[in-house]
Symmetry: C2
Subunit: 191 residues, 2 copies
DNA sequence: GACGGGATGTCAGCGACTGACATGACTGTA
DNA sequence: TACAGTCATGTCAGTCGCTGACATCCCGTC
């Protein structure tokens, strides 16, 4: 598996994040990234489809976890409950450090181009969740709406997790769960 | 204001949509668009920042309408109620034909690159709505969550409006309102 | 009819991205 | 030990998105 210097992909992702934070996204050339990682520009594009994708290495893992969680959920439960639990479980399995997540998010929010890609990933996650819900018998229009809303809450919960001051109190699944609960309150007829 | 052939911007937007539908986004060159519109490639980039933006000419108008509606809303009412009414009003003022909206959406969903831009516009709208809510005294975290959720419902409502078969029954504000109502049901504690 | 300003044209150039082909490194096998 | 096959990487040439600098043209104004 490993030849030459191993893990070119990982080195490229690391070099890219560093450079995006040091100089900014626009000011960083793919050639810069490749050179810092010790490979050629061409090699970069063999590992990542474009200059943005390099910050989204593990976005597929979250989606897989969420879909699996929906599929394996016991029958019964409202769509929002099922998906909510799946998103909390996905957050649990993510296993990313707040430090790294903060740096990554910092780079992403600094440039619209990267934000676009982040939004696309969330949209893809929403689409996959919607499909998984439909396979459980949820009607398509309902599934799409629930997925959209719940993934939105997931995203907000993730950001709130990054904002917590005290490291000891920061728990991603808790934060997602709390945000989903708040969603229910805000949407409640009385609110 | 108008010299040479008037409305180069509008001609460019029209030519771009046509070509994206005829050949696809990737297969269309900015030079192609410019030639069909009777201008130079350079002129294209004076009117639009990039090849995607050309499909999002009036996205600012919706945002302005929504923000204005939030700002002018009478005091009282939950954040979700205020924003929901503002989004319905925004939909009312949009004034786009379903035919044109369908073609545009068809082009957008055909290519992830365009979908990214659509998502960014919605995110920007959400951010603006959140800010407007905060100026009404809504706490920042709540405002962000409500804005995210409500704009998501708006987007789903818009798509549903496009899907309605009978032209006579298709009303955008109604569709947005119905989707918001469904959101409340789905999120209600009992559901 | 000279003047000024805004929209357009022209041109040169950088950087993102791709296809085609060559080369290197490591594995399995005789 | 030699040889062949495979897969990641390197090399090279080319297209296209996008930008800055400068020239030009059309129009209203004085």
């Amino acid at each position: 598996m490993a030849r030459w210097e191993p893990d070119a992909r990982g080195r490229l992702a690391k070099a890219a994040l560093e450079l995006y934070l040091e100089r900014g996204f626009e000011e960083t050339t793919v050639l810069d990234i490749a050179e810092r990682a010790g490979v050629t520009e061409r090699t970069f594009f063999r590992h990542f489809t474009d200059k943005r994708e390099v910050l989204f290495l593990n976005s597929g893992a979250l989606q897989d976890a969420v879909v699996a969680s929906i599929t394996e959920a016991p029958p019964g439960g409202s769509p929002l409950e099922v998906l909510g639990a799946a998103l909390i479980e996905g957050g649990r399995q993510l296993g990313v450090s707040r430090e790294h997540a903060r740096l990554r998010m910092s780079a992403i929010t600094r440039h619209p181009s990267l934000l676009e890609r982040e939004l696309l990933k969330l949209s893809t996650l929403s689409g996959a969740a919607s499909t998984a819900l439909q396979e459980r018998g949820v009607a398509a229009p309902t599934a799409r709406l629930v997925a959209d809303i719940a993934v939105g809450a997931f995203s907000v919960g993730f950001e709130r997790w990054l904002d917590v001051e005290d490291d000891a109190e920061a728990d991603l699944p808790d934060s997602i769960g709390a945000t989903l609960a708040e969603l229910r309150e805000l949407a409640a007829p009385g609110a």
